[in-house]
Amino acid sequence: MMQAYLENKNEGRNIGLLVTLLMLAFTVVGALVAAMVGFWWMPLGEYENILLNDFNAYEIIVIIASIIYAVCCARTTIGLFRREQSSLRWSQWMFFITLIISGAILLSVVIPVGLKFALLLGQNIDLRTQINEEVGGLVPTVLSLGEGLISVSVLVLVLIALLALFVFIIPPLESLRRMEGVRLIVAPPRRLIQAILLVFALGIICVLIAGIYAVPLHLDKTKIRVAEDHRILAGLIFFLPAFFGYRQVRQMREESDELRRAVALTPGKFIRAELAKSPSAGAIIGFIAIFMTFTMATDLFLEPSSIASYLSNVATKGVIAIGVTYLMISGEFDLSVGSVLGVAALSFMLFMTEGAPVLGVLDPIPAALLAIFVAMVLGAVNGVLLITTRIPSFIVTLGTLLAYRAITLVAIAGGRILRYRDYHAEFPVFAISNIVFVALAVIGMALVAFTAYRVLPVLLQGAGRAWSIRRENGDFGTSGAIVRFIVFLVVLLILLAIVVWLVAVFGYHIDGGLVEVGYFDIFNGRVSAIGSQGDFFHLEIPRDANVRLAILWWFIFVAIFHIILTSTSFGNSIFAAGGNEGAARAQGVNVDRVKVQNFVIVAGLTGIAAIYETARNPGVDPLKGQGWELEVIAMTVIGGALLTGGYGSVVGSLLGALIFGMLQTGLVLVGIESRLFSGTVGVIIIAAVVLNTFVRGAQRN
């Protein structure tokens, strides 16, 4: 009927108008949801301890999604009114976004309850007795109902599976499979399976509802968010119509050739295709999933101090992970980074305290440079050993892992800790004119302006071309250029705002006066500590938040090394060296040199990480960095790099490190015992790699 309406026939007129009106109503609903959440009329999952007028990421996502939803609804309304085929494309996106919003609302109930169930299991509390004794009313009945539904559906599923297995496996029945009646058993009708799954889902919902009432009783001490039952209803009211609407549109699309052209990409396919282009797709999905899980599980997760904590915890390891990613892409492997870190940290500290061999006691900056150089020499040794002996890098670096560790063990005898404070009374500082800061900020401003001047016109032109193509094709076609333009514009404006703000802050105090800055603070100090020194930064970062400067350096390194990897011929030869060494050699790539260079890069970055670690805690013990190599490799692998080489990304390693850090902090916040941390990380690693493989499979098709 809708089809007839869109094709301008009379018969579909009434129903078409009705749907148009419905879409208009949906527009209003979407706008209302955005407004209600946005103006705190309908707070979604606020923990009591947290101020009411305070957004959490979850709310922000719902607000943004509802706004997009309203826009999609409005566009669909207009499209239907003007009888454009493309309106179906908009409505598909609309349903898709509704699914996301309602899914998020549902998850905000499911995740806390699920987590609490998990915690209860750990505490050996019999849920059923507790519910019978303390809650009463309808709740025990709902729980029994839920359990019953789950048992029945699982039983039926198992029966079907057994029957199918029976028919498939036992040879005498082979011939039976071709008979009409048996086919029914082998491949049970889709409707039946769907019905069973529906029963199963209902059972889960019943158990969850019971859990909402039962669980809070025993877990008052945890910070897990209170789950509210009415949100299940709210979520389902959105979810079910969107689900059926989405399927309806898909069906219509499949029935009509013209529509298929207009709605070329369904939202699901679009997102999958976009993700498949990126080597870090698995890490992106994992990052979003874990971030959302913890965000919904506890409000504490988005406290500035929590974010600062997990960023600071992984910043140094993240820097190493960049190098390990490079090495892994070129097909090699470095186990020795932990030991190299120990040696570099020790050298740095020794050069500042006992003194370097010829040069004597050094200032922090020369000491740091020399320590990084020492690390690079160790890396070069790794690389040269590899290419001269042709032993697998796993073995080479396993050897150097142990050998380099001996350096620190011998140098710091008796297991003592080499402390800066034992040699010098004060941490080193240097005085700097505040004009320098203003100058740096102005240079930053000029840089942003220059980038805008160079890139913006090109992007604008591309966006304009894409826009006119879309116009001609009746609102259909590539929108990538337009999106790129908008994203670039937004990023540019944010950067500009930051730089202008910095210029304003610094410029306010410009008088040529000297500011004392600690060397260690520049390497990896608390940002608040740096601010307090000169009392002119005025950064409004909470004093208790552990925001370390290494985070900034980490992000800068990620940006630089990402560009090197993706946009220089050196990066190209890294991919080639790991992807197919023979082909790389045949094309004149000096594979050996690339590999040695990568070993030096890893070691150099490890040296830099060592400086950060030492600056954060100016003391070195002989076992510094032990066990880091596997954590860093875990981050890299989660980030999508292939152990076999030829594939991976620096941004992936960033996400891998963030996932690692979020797990470390988040598990503590929701009250799960830290003993479970390594187990969880293990599961995540395997899941991430499976996900990466799956996404790469999608890319191939």
């Binding site: 011929s569 991919f575 080639a576 023979g582 082909a583 094309q587």
Partner: protein
Amino acid sequence: MEYKQKNPDALVDMIDIHKYFGSVQVLRGIDFHVDRQEIVGLLGDNGAGKSTLIKVLTGFHTLTRGQIFFDGDAVDIASPHDARELGIETVHQDLALVPLMSIARNFWLGQEPTYKVGPFHFMDKKLMASESIHALADVGIHIRDPEETVGTMSGGERQSIAIGRAVYFGKKLLILDEPTSALSVGETQKVLDYTIAAKEKGMSVIFITHNIRHVYEVADRFTIIERGHKLGDFYKSEVTENEVADMIVTGQIPERLRLYEEAAVGE
């Protein structure tokens, strides 16, 4: 020992090539030449020494004795890099392309076009994409998307791209090492077409195979190697497909052809 070029007009003239691996004599005095714009089929059974001969020419092995002349000059090819500098491009069975990299990146691998921003060199990705499409279209290879990874393509498509790359970079000699052994009939035909296209663009081609059927159609001349020796050079007009196939298997020159050989020696 001084060597003199036997075929002064040839692009490649390899004279008295010996290659020993320890006490194993793999090549025992082979003379081999390739004329300009000529497709030579280098034939021989497994282990006959054809791969070793080619690896000597492409710098993977250094020769024990003998001399190579390229483009009229005596050359010393010590590494694959040297061979590349001379204009020799080898398309290996499975070593040609990097599967996980895009077509454009593979195409330009080792000689990426760059532009400068201050002291930094960046790859010109736009140029890489557009030029690779045009260059491949020139030899009749039409690709859908230069950003597509090579791993998703069929064996024939990969060989074609490698051949197109060699043609584009103005190489003088293209060596195809068993290019068709894993390909379907249709794909083989395509690779043969591109080989002819390469010849028409002015290149010489060495086509290594042990399957005469693939090369008979396109080759101008056949060189048959047998246990480290050269059995002989035969122009296509002199021999039939079956005679060549027999020679590969038996290692004997048929009675009829021996007269040609003796006449050649007599000169």
